[in-house]
Every structure is written in C-alpha cells, then in structure tokens.
C-alpha cells in the first residue's frame, strides 16, 4: 500500500514530535514527498506533555495546533502512527526502509466519540501523564492519548484484545471503527533521505540512588511535575504530592539530576535550568505568596535571552536559590517530607532542609539510547545522533542534541534542508 507512493525522491522522517513535525513540514512545504512515522498512537511527542513553555509561559497546544493544521492541509505529508523503523538498507539517495506497524484496533471510521472508553472498565497506565511513574495516572484500556491527539482516533490497548472487554468496546462503537482483528504489518519503503527526529526521554531517576526516587513517595521528576501543574493532568492542575495528596507548597527543585555527571549522563541537558525556573512560577501561580520554591543548583545555565527570565525569577520572593548539588535525600517518617542533605558552596554551610515535595530536574537522554540503529549512523559519546557516514541520514532536534523546543525546531529545519539537498542531488544525478 504505502510502498507505491514512496520513491527515492521521498524523505522519511522518523519521530512525530515537534522536531519531526517541523522537519516533515518544512520539506513538504518545499514540495517534497514526506513520510512521517511515529512510534506512539499520536503526533506531538514530549512537547504535547508540557504545560507551558519558557520563557513566555505560553501553552504548547497553540503551536501544536498550528503544526497539525499544516499537516492536515498538506497532501505531501503522509503520517503513519504506531510505526517503528526496524531496518534501513541501501545508501544515500536510495534507502530501503522496513517499517513495523502495530495494530491500533481502531480504524479510520473513529469519530473520537468515546463510547468505547465508556464501555470498558479495565484501566492501564496513562503514558501521557507519566502514569508508569509517580503520578500513577490510569486511563481506560480504550482511550484517546490526549485531547490534542492526532489522528483524533481512539486506541485499544492490546491487553484487552481477545477478552470480553475488547468485545464490549467493539459493540459499543456505532461506527464500526473497532477492528479487533488487526494484525501487525510490515511495510517496505524506498526513500532518498532519512531524518531521525527520535527525540529524548527523561533520565531514569531510579538510577540516582542517593535521591531515593524509588524509595520516597514525595520525590518526583520534573516531567511528572509538569503534568501535575497541567489542568489536563491527573490532579486537574493542582500541585498535590503523591504520598498523601496534600498540597505541596514548599517545593525543592534539584538541578542536574543525572546530567553533568560522569556516573549518569556526561552532558549538560541544557533545558533543565529553564524548566525549573518555569516550574517555580507554577508554584507561585498555585499558591501565591504562600508558595515556596527552593532551587538547588551547581550553576544556573540560562543562556542568552533566557537570562531575563532568570533575573525575573530571582526577584520573586517565593523563590530562593542554594548553590549546592544535594548529596542525598532522607525522609522524615512522621510526615513523609523529604529531607535534603548537603553543603552549600557559598560559605560551605551544612544543611538538612525539609520540603513538602522534591522535583528532580532529570536530564535528557536520547530515546534511541540502547536501540540498535543502522550501522551507518554515527552517535556522540552520549548517544545523540550526529548523522550517517554516507551523508543521507540526519539527526534532528532532541535526537541530535539536548535542546529546548525552540532550538529543536531550528535543528529540525536545518536537518530538513540537508535532506532536501540529498533529494535534489540524487534527482539531478538521475537526470544527467
């Protein structure tokens, strides 16, 4: 099916987050044929999971909507969700790509009415809200990934296929959209260039033993905190801590949780300082002057124009800064408060400070770390994608380097241009 439309003039973009969408759109709007593949059931990636952007504190949904409109309106982009690349053969200008398409169990007839979700009682971890982590958020086994999901189509979790629950979802659908007989498919594609926009994942906080993410309920990660602040999140936008659901008014942020550490991630993840400065403002918004944020840091890396935002947060009376990498966290068993131990660098004072909630500003690691990529791909020492030796595949966005949304979009545009050049070159070679 899909194979027929793809030729060596086609660009394959792997990953449907903000970088992949950008790379795909830039090429498509230059008149190139693009196939955009995404592993999960929806486009948007980790950007869609953010509550606000720094430094303007605007909502990612805005830009997401614009990009989705561009995609819907452009016949040059073909989107394939629930699709992974399993193999890449060939060379620059002429790759043969193998894709694996997982069954969604819901076809194009879906109107996202939600009847299947109502008919089902089984719940699974809500991945969008980091439900496998501290938020513990659950979602029905027939679900829409999130309100802005594209395609706006439900997904049936494979765990209920072949059970009465699956049948219930099927019979609840008025449009014949639930198709429990769907099977995994393999698709072969011919493409000229590949943009790897496979993005990032938060560093596994369990590995940072002294911080006790695995032991203390009220130690969470920055991505989880983002979901707590979001009205679409598991707490409806209230900053409630996991142990007892109490409002967390005294929040500690620990920077470089994993990053800049030879034991974990050797690179600086670049975004975490700004993300924390942004999140201190969530605390202020939620509790006004009663809220209190404490940022434990090695250095605040608010680069170029972000310095203004840092200066603004510095003025905020509810936010204080402690120049120290926290050595370890203990727990006050009486009230479940995490207790932070360390020594600060400005005066070398030893502290043991109690907070309601600790947010670990976890680093970014490439989503493809540990994944077998085509042999030709060159990775840096942190497994970010530098490109391919034959010059026909490119890393884009957070797959190429730890980047914020703004810079990821720039990186994706650059990668798209390089891919277009490959297509042009192979086209002119064929013509000659």
């Amino acid at each position: 099916m899909t194979a027929s439309i793809a030729t060596n003039q086609t660009i394959l973009v792997v990953g449907g987050g903000i970088s992949g969408m950008t790379a795909a759109l830039e090429a498509a709007e230059c008149g190139k044929q693009v196939i955009l593949v995404e592993k999960t059931p929806t486009l948007g990636g980790r950007t869609a999971q953010l509550y606000r952007y720094f430094p303007k504190m605007c909502h990612p949904t805005c830009g997401l909507e614009i990009n989705l409109r561009r995609i819907k309106g452009n016949p040059n982009v073909k989107v394939m969700t629930m699709t992974e690349v399993t193999a890449v053969a060939g060379a620059r200008g002429n790759y043969n790509v193998t894709l694996k398409v997982a069954p969604r169990y819901v076809n194009e007839n879906c109107t996202a009415c939600g009847d299947c979700g109502k008919a089902v009682t089984t719940e699974v971890a809500d991945v969008f809200n980091y439900g496998q982590g501290k938020t513990g958020a659950k979602v029905k086994a027939a679900y829409l990934p999130h309100v802005m999901a594209y395609p706006q189509r439900y997904v049936i979790d494979p765990s209920i296929v072949g059970t009465p629950e699956g049948e219930a979802a099927k019979s609840a659908c008025k449009y014949g959209a639930v198709d429990l007989g769907m099977k995994e498919e393999t698709v072969q594609l011919n493409v000229g260039a590949v943009v790897w926009a496979t993005g990032w994942r938060p560093f596994d906080a369990n590995k940072i033993q002294p911080y006790g993410y695995d032991r203390y309920a009220n130690v969470i990660t920055s991505v989880e905190f983002e979901r707590l602040a979001d009205p679409h999140g598991p707490t409806g936008g209230k900053i409630l801590r996991p142990s007892d659901g109490k409002e967390a008014k005294n929040v500690a942020f620990i920077q470089c949780a994993g990053s800049r550490d030879e034991n974990y991630l050797r690179h600086c993840s670049r975004i975490c300082c700004m993300a924390t400065l942004k999140q201190t403002q969530y605390v202020r918004e939620a509790f006004g002057d009663e809220g209190k944020s404490t940022v434990y840091y090695i250095d605040i890396r608010a680069i170029d124009r972000f310095e203004d935002f840092y200066a603004k947060v510095w003025q905020d009376k509810t936010v204080s800064f402690v120049k120290s990498k926290v050595a370890r966290i203990a727990e006050n068993a009486a009230n479940g408060n995490p207790v932070l131990h360390g020594v600060d660098t400005e005066g070398y004072h030893r502290y043991a400070t109690e907070h309601d909630l600790v947010v670990l500003a976890v680093g970014m690691e490439p989503e493809v770390k540990g994944v077998k990529l085509p042999d030709d791909i060159v990775l840096d020492s942190s497994s970010f994608i530098e490109g391919s030796k034959d010059g026909g595949m490119f890393g884009a966005g957070a797959a190429a380097s730890p980047l914020d949304v703004n810079r990821a979009v720039q990186s994706a545009t650059a990668a798209s241009l390089k891919a277009i050049q490959v297509i042009h070159k192979s086209a002119s070679t064929e013509a000659a």
């Binding site: 002294p210 034991n263 120290s324 990498k325 926290v326 050595a327 360390g342 030893r350």
Partner: protein
C-alpha cells in the same frame, strides 16, 4: 621551616595549585572540581572536619597553602570512598586527600600530634625496621605515644584484649625481643630508599 618547605615556597611562589599538581599524588585532578559540594555532603565524617574536600580544593586554587597543608581534614579520611563514588566528575577525592596528607607530612607542615599522622608514622617506622610489622611493639608504641603514665593507663585498659589475643595465639609475647623479620633486612632498607629516591625525583623533591 623544613628545607623542603623553604625550597617549595621559593620554587612555586604563589602558585600553590601548580605545586599540588606537580607534587601531590593525583593533584592534577584538583582543577577539575566544579564545586558542586556532593563530596562534602556525602562524607560520613563531614561535620567533624575542619575543611571538606570541596573546600580544600577551592583553598588550593585560592593559594591558601599554609591552611591547606596544616589542615587536619586529610588525616580524618577513613577511605570509605563515598566521595569518589558520587563525584560527578570522577575525581579520585580519597586519593587526593591521602596525597595531600603525605605531602604535608613530607614538608612537616601537617598538624603536630594529629593521631592519624602519629599512628601512620609509628606504623611506618615499625614496618621498615625489619620488613615485617611487629604488632606487639606497634601496640606498645601507640600506648606510650603520649607519655609513660598515659601508656601504663592504656596498657591496663587493654590488657583483657591483649590476654585474649595471646590465648588465641594472635599475639606472641616473645616478639618483644627482636621478633620476626625479613631475611634480608639491608635489602629491604635499600629497596625503600630506592623507592623514595624514585618518588622524590618524580615529584621534584630530590
């Protein structure tokens, strides 16, 4: 001031960091410290020290030579290696602390009578004499390091343990006369002297 110290001051003037880099074991790592404070916070003996490793490293860079070499901190390290394990820049902190202690001792700037330093000195002297540690003489030397009266008191306090060790054949009272030793004692002395010579040459202390 010892001769070695006078020479060092003349040679390095105000550049103490360079002195540490060239003369202290693993001293070249000091400049890699980014002052995050994890070592200081992770040290189980932290509150008992005058200066944490983090602070020592900053003092070295600031050229606080007398304070660093006269500090008791390096001597308090129990080699638990918590700091090395957690250091985000993989500085061999424990080894640097030991290197600093050793260098301070060589220049005779280390705190006088610091117990760890005294024990280390007694142990070394005991060991190199015969090439074997004479545990009985070493224990007695420790008991009596603060004078005769204190030594008797210490010996009385420890006599139960001493007798127990003797019964279990872990302590031989006959060690008091001569004791076990290496076959080639002059050879051992030559070896130690040679090692010292090589090390001094490498560290510019010759």
């Amino acid at each position: 001031m010892s001769d070695l110290n006078t020479q060092a001051v003349a040679r390095y003037k105000n550049n103490f960091l360079k002195e540490v880099e060239e003369r202290v074991e693993d001293g070249h790592w000091v400049k890699m410290c980014m002052q995050c404070g994890v070592c200081a916070g992770s040290c189980p003996l932290g509150p008992a020290w005058q200066h944490s490793p983090q602070k020592i490293f900053m003092m070295i860079r600031a050229g606080k030579r007398e304070e660093v070499l006269g500090s008791d901190s390096m001597w308090m390290c129990t080699s638990c290696y918590n700091c090395i394990v957690r250091c985000p820049r993989k500085l061999p902190i424990t080894h640097i602390m030991h290197g600093l202690a050793n260098y301070a001792h060589r220049l005779d700037l280390a705190p006088k009578g610091q117990p760890t330093r005294e024990i280390a000195r007694l142990f070394w002297d005991n060991l190199v004499k015969t090439g074997r540690v004479n545990e009985l003489k070493f224990s007695l030397a420790m008991y009596f390091k603060d004078g005769f009266a204190q030594g008797i008191k210490n010996a009385m306090a420890m006599q139960g343990i001493g007798l127990g060790l003797m019964k279990a054949k872990r302590l031989n009272p006959m060690e008091i006369v001569g004791g076990h030793k290496c076959k080639d004692i002059p050879g051992i002395h030559k070896m130690v002297a040679k090692a010292r010579e090589i090390e001094d040459r490498r560290r510019g202390l010759a």
